[in-house]
Symmetry: C2
Subunit: 307 residues, 2 copies
């Protein structure tokens, strides 16, 4: 597992980004983007999710993408391919096609949990922990997440204690690679600092990831707060994909190249190829035929200013 000395970038655009898009991306196009992303120096790339293709058609080719890429020479040493799994059937599919890292989560919002899974938080947690332990027994990396950790579109405020209770259950089960997901973009930076500090008090051995959305323009502010508070992995989407193209809510996931631009200027992860990330963002904007939420693919980078 990574130590805190290296900040990790977990690129999730091909999953959390594309699943919001109305236009289905052909597998060949996904492979082009995936191969380019594999060469940017980001650490983990989420290829897709294992979910029923009728529910999210954009993710129907996840098994095929893994089969094409996972065992190929396209994956550089040290880069990990991840997938999101929602249930046991998805885990079986993932195990069959070469997934190295499984991401799975439970919502800290009772309403969100029931709407998404048909189960309350308690039942969902038991099931996800069992799945996580199964995946680990199969020799896989496992990251468990708390969804809606900073607020919920249905319930509004989510009490900190509900998030921490899930973190405790994960830790007791020995699942300490934990991501706090700001599913609907409700996080504000002081809350992020407070929450991360509380999580670290539960168990100093947690490897802490954060997953922010930029709904209210706070993605980078929250990422900075998380960085200061001990997060060592950041989930982000190239081009800021993940906003809902059918509404006025432009902000998707925090944008990978915007995040890397900030990190670089702070002396962090200067090895990541920002130009190549921007190249992918530009290509995605062309493919979707609209301006995407990311900033620096349009404005240029701080590197170009001499900083």
């Amino acid at each position: 597992m990574p130590g805190p000395s290296r900040i990790l970038i977990h690129e999730v655009g091909l999953r959390d980004g594309l699943q919001m898009e109305g236009r289905t991306v052909p597998t060949e196009k996904k492979l082009v983007w995936l191969r380019r992303l594999l060469r940017t120096g980001v650490d983990v790339i989420q290829v897709g999710s294992f979910v029923h293709p009728v529910k999210i058609p954009q993710m129907a080719d996840t098994d095929r993408l893994f089969k094409e890429i996972a065992a190929s020479d396209d994956v550089p040493e040290g880069v990990t391919l991840s997938a999101l799994v929602l249930n046991e059937k998805g885990l079986d599919r993932g195990l069959a096609c070469g997934v190295e890292m499984f991401c799975m989560g439970v919502s800290a919002s009772e309403t969100h949990s029931r709407k998404n899974t048909g189960m309350g938080i308690d039942e969902a947690a038991g099931r996800i922990i069992a799945m996580g332990l199964n995946a680990r027994s199969a020799g896989k990396r496992v990251q468990v997440s708390v969804q809606s950790a900073f607020g919920c579109g249905y319930e509004g405020n989510v009490p900190e204690e509900r998030v921490l209770a899930l973190v405790r259950r994960y830790c007791e089960a020995g699942l300490k690679d934990i991501s706090l997901a700001d599913t609907a973009g409700h996080a504000v930076p002081d809350r992020v600092e407070q929450m991360l500090s509380a999580v670290r008090e539960i168990d100093g051995g947690v490897t802490l990831a954060c997953h922010f959305h930029n709904t209210y323009g706070l993605g980078l502010a929250n990422a900075y707060a998380a960085l200061k508070s001990g997060a060592v992995s950041f989930e982000s989407s190239v081009a800021g994909l993940g906003g809902c193209p059918f509404t006025k809510i432009a902000g998707g996931n925090v944008c990978t190249e915007d995040l890397v631009n900030m990190f670089r200027a702070m002396g962090i992860r200067r090895d990541v190829n920002l130009d190549e990330l921007i190249g992918v963002a530009v290509d995605m904007a062309e493919f979707f035929g609209r301006e995407l939420p990311g900033t620096v693919y349009r404005t240029g980078t701080l590197v170009q200013t001499g900083l």
Copy 2:
């Protein structure tokens, strides 16, 4: 002067925002926006600048705006009207039309200073300090700024020491209401923390303001870092005005209603009327006939999510 217990909002859209716009805003329209802004609860409103009308035609009616508003019942108790002045002639104009607070600055970039004023930093500082003292003798509030404090479009990196040298000169002259301006949007949050901490070490009696631009999407992250580091006043533009509409660089000043949205969720300045700020932003977007850089006027606010 404000103490650190209350965070101030200094709305600068009518000046730093409108001066970037190609379409001249009629005085009557500015008055409508100004009167609405005066009722939002923001603390200081920058009405315009005193600059030659040929140079920036958008600011040609600044004297008239002050004459219409300054002495009227439209200005609530406790709200201050400010103006930017660049030279002695501007100061005279401002003194003649009721300006309460004068903002003036020197760039920490030699190239930027020469291009903007024809003077190097040292000469410009002497002149601005003399102007500031004159304005104060006339009974006015004075805020002096360091422009390009976090980087420069011409020079790239601006050494911290050059910023601090200007701060020292201001403090020695007794001008301790100081703003650090990130003129081109180069600031990153860790640099902001470092710089503000260094300024406070020079003189703990400084009332510190920050002026960020959102060029690279970092405006709110920098504002958060500044808040944590002792800034007590924030200069921002309603709707995020201030980007250059002729380029792809969308980000203008950090957006007032986005900033207030963040502050509110952190329990700060919950008295500001966010809905009214958004109303002005919506009206501005309609007037200019394009989407403006601000976020929450399009996506809604965290208040609406129950947070």
